[in-house]
Symmetry: C2
Subunit: 369 residues, 2 copies
DNA sequence: CTCTTCAAGACAAGAGCCCTGACTAGAATC
DNA sequence: GATTCTAGTCAGGGCTCTTGTCTTGAAGAG
């Protein structure tokens, strides 16, 4: 803390935090190893372990130096106690709900999923959410210290509720994940939309250590965008940063159209819905793809103007497939920014959610109480 | 620090920082008052003052409690020593250069200005800069710990150099303020563009305590925009966030045009220049103003989509004058965000520069060396 | 003019945290 | 079984903060 009052307690608590962090990195350490890791004396390390054991945050593992590594006396290995708790990582998409339970080392202790009928009915989703959360929590049987949720719809920053924006598909629907998950959560419940979590995973991915300013353009059934600036996801006043459906861009014949309307004009929206028909879009001809590329370039021009990214990463179910058309159109922009497809495979959204859940859990341990 | 090693020095340095900060707020205090302010004991406060006096950061003012406020023994007033140094606040605009020298309380010790011929010649501007900086530095005669500079052109974030963007007016021109001011600066030289500083002042203005996410739209000879997110000015990868000249928006007849091109089509750019002719723009008729309002609304739509501001503040030489037309057009956007003119009078840019200079100076004192 | 009042500042004692260095404990190696 | 080497403990010392007492010195009262 910067505003903490100067006192001896301060330095003691700093010592304890260092010990806890060292145990997060190395899982189990003897007191001598702790002292060496942190750069403190052995007696100090021993005292800190004693205090933390008393508070139930650290426990003697019983292990006594497994493989002979030297010949001296064996040490007692200490590790974080199970009572430090777990975090829940949850994703909510129209296809279903996935919940995982993570320990403080980031390992998944349990995972489950619930499918949901399409179109999603909010009460059905809420029930799936409750059921999945209960299952993974009970499987781990440790206190839940933090819960991080991804949703496939825009999320209100102040309340965590899913919100419907005009003319955009409402994939999951009216839902209040904070309220639904509160009975399972012993700590904060953080909700954000899936595009932001995917961008978060992109930022943390290998080889992206210096990628502190970029935009993640999600082009799928819905249209979204995440802005990462100075290494942080930017959410804006309401959490609606990146809701690009109504951005004005260049449409067919050089007319100014709102981005989402373009797909209506091209007949690429699903019947009776505001969602984009991805199958038909992917099957469209060169002319249509060129029109879409130009429109996306207009969006990229706006991103360049207002976010100044190092690069633009394209994801979503059809974005990477049209990367050629998008790249050709963005190359004509006055300011050049590389546009590339996402490098992530597997579950980028869950990866971002997991990382955030782990951060919150670890923060709850070191801030403790 | 969070990663500081636990030791007794840590708590001592925290104490010293508290004392320095208290003296920044209250200018002069006795040791007893310091103890009460910070919440530490009198002996501790006395020891800290002794240490800081020895290091030359604090000095006995000689004052001895002027107005009788009680009848007990009078105390010695201590204050920050002149050796803590000063900060330079500099603005560079095509009209000229202004330089101020600020002490650690934010008071201007000296101020001077140099006019510059239009169009600005870079070597002429650099000479004016040197001359003005030398004058205010010599007037104050204390070491310069920080220098903050505003420039009326885009600023490269990595180098602090002014950069020319395609198709935008280059008002000041090729200039490297960091190199020019290095001989006068005993600390960091921070450079950013004037729109960002004006937005910074808007954020700090009275009544805007909860304004952490907003956009500042500058509409004058040049076009600019500042994005404030989570209370911080966002600069992006290169420092070019807010360079909106090439944003695609709605032009005459519903065509998609780049924002800056609109003014060329309307014949509102100055002859032989890329700058907007503000006089002619302000004299234009209702139809033209409506077209401009619609185009600005397209820009606002992009800002809403990519920054999600709480409100949009409009400044610049013609922006506030067209607020009616802009407001009418933005009211038709699907998502509503209040658009208002800037409330600041006087010198908003210099106000933002001053505040940043003071922050850097104070940080240099508490971080010290 | 002297005495009283009362807060500033100094001094002393005590507690807490960390460090160094020496000592004890205990398992693997020889 | 003796040796070696490291984990963990103990004792002494330094530093910082705190509480409480004492001294100092100017303002106010008489």
């Amino acid at each position: 803390m910067d505003s903490a009052k100067p006192s001896l307690d301060l330095v003691r608590s700093v010592t304890d935090v260092h010990v806890l962090r060292a145990l997060m990195r190395h899982r189990r350490l003897t007191r001598a190893e702790l002292a060496a890791q942190i750069g403190i004396s052995k007696p100090t390390a021993g005292e800190s372990v004693r205090r933390l054991t008393e508070r139930g945050l650290v426990a003697d593992t019983g292990e006594r130096t497994p493989g002979g590594r030297g010949r001296g006396r064996v040490g007692s290995y200490y590790a974080l106690a199970p009572a430090v708790g777990v975090a829940l990582a949850v994703t909510i998409a129209p296809e279903g709900v996935v919940a995982e339970c993570l320990d403080v080392y980031g390992d998944a202790l349990a995972r489950t999923m619930r499918e949901v009928d399409r179109p999603a009915r909010p009460d059905h989703v809420a029930a799936a959410l409750r059921s999945a959360a209960a299952e993974v929590r009970d499987a781990a049987d440790h206190p839940v210290r933090a819960t991080v949720v991804s949703a496939a719809d825009p999320v209100d920053r102040a309340t965590g509720r899913l919100v419907q924006l005009p003319d955009a598909p409402f994939l999951v629907g009216e839902l209040d994940p904070v309220a639904v998950l509160a009975p399972f959560a012993g700590g904060p419940v953080v909700v954000d939309n899936d595009v932001n979590w995917a961008a978060s995973a992109e930022r943390d991915s290998a080889g992206a250590e210096h990628l502190r300013d970029f935009a993640y353009l999600y082009l799928g059934e819905g249209l979204g965008c995440a802005i990462v600036n100075d290494g942080e996801i930017r959410r804006g006043r309401s959490g609606l940063t990146g809701e690009i459906a109504h951005l004005v861009t260049a449409g067919p014949g050089g007319r100014a159209v709102r981005f989402i309307e373009l797909f209506g004009e091209l007949g690429l929206r699903r019947h009776g819905s505001t969602a984009i028909d991805v199958g038909r879009l992917l099957g469209s001809g060169a002319t249509t793809r060129e029109v879409i590329g130009t429109a996306v370039a207009g969006v990229v021009a706006a991103v360049i103007a207002l976010a100044d990214p190092q690069e633009v990463v394209v994801g979503g179910s059809w974005g990477p497939a049209l990367l050629g058309d998008i790249g050709a159109a963005t190359a004509r922009l006055p300011r050049h920014v590389p546009v590339r497809a996402t490098a992530l495979t597997g579950e980028p959204v869950m990866a971002g959610v997991r990382a955030a859940a782990l951060d919150h859990l670890r923060a709850s341990v070191t801030a403790d109480g």
